[in-house]
């Protein structure tokens, strides 16, 4: 069974696994420089021009697996030497140009940037072109192509540009750490910093959960991951790593949906606060809308806060699909509750670093949340849960008009409209990744069936309503 979508993920995984292996054995410092050679042995290059470049890049990957550049606050980092400096010529005329007579491209270009050679074939004068794309639209042969770098294409918040050395460069004042570029770069030149070493350190220091107890809070999108095993086996695997117990972040989602629906009815207009990349996007790109962000913590932070209130010896690691969560847990208001964050990719690496074959384990259980908490993992789920929350509160005099934004581009449009007072809705569900959390950059796989898997997992929940899942949590 295929574990990853791309070979880049596989390479990243091998590095993480090796770093973790050495860390468990307390031999990381000793062996850190050997890891590139372990991954690329021999003299024949397998990926780049020569093994030396491959190993130099692997050294950088090892560094990121160990936490990356501490002076850069962003968890998304460019490995400059891995960046292939892709062509970024923008609009260019390809060989498909037949040198026709109509010259629609010339007519539509307001800048006079289209010129013709002696064979009547079109060329674009880059000194005049403004990359409007009109010529590409009108060409009957689709001969004009936009050569945009995959990272820039992926980055809908326009945080990526070209540095002086032509490598990709991230503007932290615009980047919301969603990780789209990480997943899209075909050379693996952008990566998310890892906190696996912190997690390994915590597990070791807990000494079998004697000194403090390790709680794993897992995101509901886990239902679409690790498809080669049963979910119950993944839970057993997490415990085999040294965690005391595993709790569903979806229970936090139930708590959020219940609180947020009430907050919405009181305030009349809200934007959701679940997706950290969406929240960060509002702060950086629509600061005037920040006052409308729901005051609830995210589901992961909400359930972690609750766990810490019930158990003062708890240390909490969030495991999910999300790179932006690695930013969120460092925020002042979340720091006390979540101790570290890893992705599903990193969880797989941790399993294999300890040679834990989850398919050979017994099935444990994971069941705290309701259907509604669980469907937060996909676009539209949060809006459904808030609708249910309003119903369970018995709030009937509030006309609920949710706008579910699937991906940051839809978020941008909704926020733009809302900031001008023309949005036909009163609740913005913002999900930075297309598809919702199941589209997150830290997922092992991104499949067509993932949404169906989340819904199925939702229906399997023992609790059918939000109130049933949460009402007994409050003992006051």
């Amino acid at each position: 069974m295929r574990k990853f979508d791309t070979k880049i993920q596989y390479l990243k995984y091998k590095v993480l696994r090796e770093v973790a292996r050495q860390a468990w054995d307390d031999k990381l410092l000793e062996h850190v420089f050997e890891i590139p050679k372990i991954i690329v042995p021999g003299k024949e290059p397998t990926m780049r021009c020569c093994v030396y470049k491959e190993r130099a890049i692997l050294e950088e990957r090892v560094r990121i697996a160990m936490g990356g550049d501490k002076t850069n606050p962003n968890v998304i980092e460019v490995i400059d030497i891995a960046c292939d400096e892709c062509p970024m010529g923008g609009y260019e005329v390809s060989d498909a140009c037949r040198g026709c007579l109509a010259h629609r491209c010339e007519d539509v270009c307001k800048k006079g940037a289209i010129v013709f050679d002696h064979q009547q074939k079109a060329h674009i004068d880059k000194t005049k072109c403004v990359e409007c794309g009109m010529c590409a639209k009108v060409c009957p042969y689709s001969a004009i192509i936009n050569h945009k770098r995959p990272c820039e294409q992926a980055c809908k918040v326009k945080a990526i540009s070209m540095s002086e050395t032509k490598a990709a460069s991230i503007d932290n004042s615009k980047c919301n750490s969603c990780g789209a570029c990480v997943y899209q770069c075909p050379f693996g030149a952008i990566s998310d910093k890892s906190f696996i070493l912190n997690v390994i350190d915590l597990i070791k220091k807990s000494e079998g959960n004697k000194n403090f107890k390790m709680y794993a809070v897992v995101a509901p999108s886990i239902s679409s991951q690790f498809t080669y095993a049963k979910l119950g086996q993944v839970i057993s695997g997490i415990k085999a790593l040294g965690f005391f117990t595993v709790v569903e972040a979806a229970l936090g989602a139930d708590m959020v949906a219940y609180a947020e629906s009430k907050e919405l009815a009181e305030k009349g207009f809200l934007t959701s606060s679940c997706c950290p990349a969406f929240v960060d996007y509002i702060h950086k790109h629509f600061p005037q809308m920040a006052e409308h962000i729901s005051h609830n913590l995210s589901p992961a932070a909400t359930i972690s806060k609750y766990i810490k209130e019930t158990d003062k010896d708890a240390k909490i690691v969030f495991i999910g699909p999300c790179t932006a969560k690695k930013m969120e847990f460092q925020k002042e208001e979340v720091k006390p509750y979540i101790d570290s964050v890893i992705t599903f990719e990193e969880l797989q690496a941790l399993f294999d670093s300890k040679d834990i074959d989850i398919t050979a384990l017994d099935e444990d259980v994971l069941d705290n949340a309701s259907y509604f908490g669980r469907i937060f993992a996909r676009s539209g789920g949060l809006a459904d849960a808030v609708r249910q929350g309003l119903k369970e509160h018995g709030i009937e005099d509030f006309e609920y008009k949710p706008v579910s934004c699937d991906g940051i581009e839809e978020c941008r449009i909704a926020l733009l409209k809302a900031s001008k007072g023309v949005l036909p809705g009163n609740f913005i569900e913002g999900m930075a990744c297309v598809g919702g959390c199941i589209g997150g950059a830290g997922c092992l796989t991104h499949g067509e069936k993932n949404k169906a898997e989340v819904d199925k997992y939702g229906r399997e929940a023992y609790e059918k309503t939000i109130s049933d899942a949460i009402k007994f949590l409050n003992h006051d």
Partner: protein, 84 residues
């Protein structure tokens, strides 16, 4: 007295919600609100095949079901408090 009912996945599936509700009702019935602090726990580390795990101060009891609840409450909570 601190009474912690396990609400972790394993116990949740075996009825911890009902046990919490029975516990709340019993505390009220005997007016023990000032004596008992009722709390949840996501795992007491004694997952059992049957029933729910409850911790009463330092003592852990497993396998509490709604059928055995009254007996458990009388023996391990009520009588302990009454003895002072």
């Amino acid at each position: 007295m601190i009474v912690q009912v396990c609400i972790g996945s394993s116990c949740h599936l075996k009825g911890s919600r009902e046990i919490v509700e029975l516990m709340k009702a019993a505390i009220e019935e005997h007016s023990l609100q000032d004596e008992i602090t009722l709390a949840g726990s996501f795992c007491i580390g004694k997952c059992n095949r049957v029933g729910v795990t409850v911790q009463v101060d330092d003592d852990v009891y497993t396998g509490i079901t709604k059928e055995s609840f009254n007996e458990f409450f009388n023996d391990k909570i009520l009588s302990v408090i009454q003895r002072g």
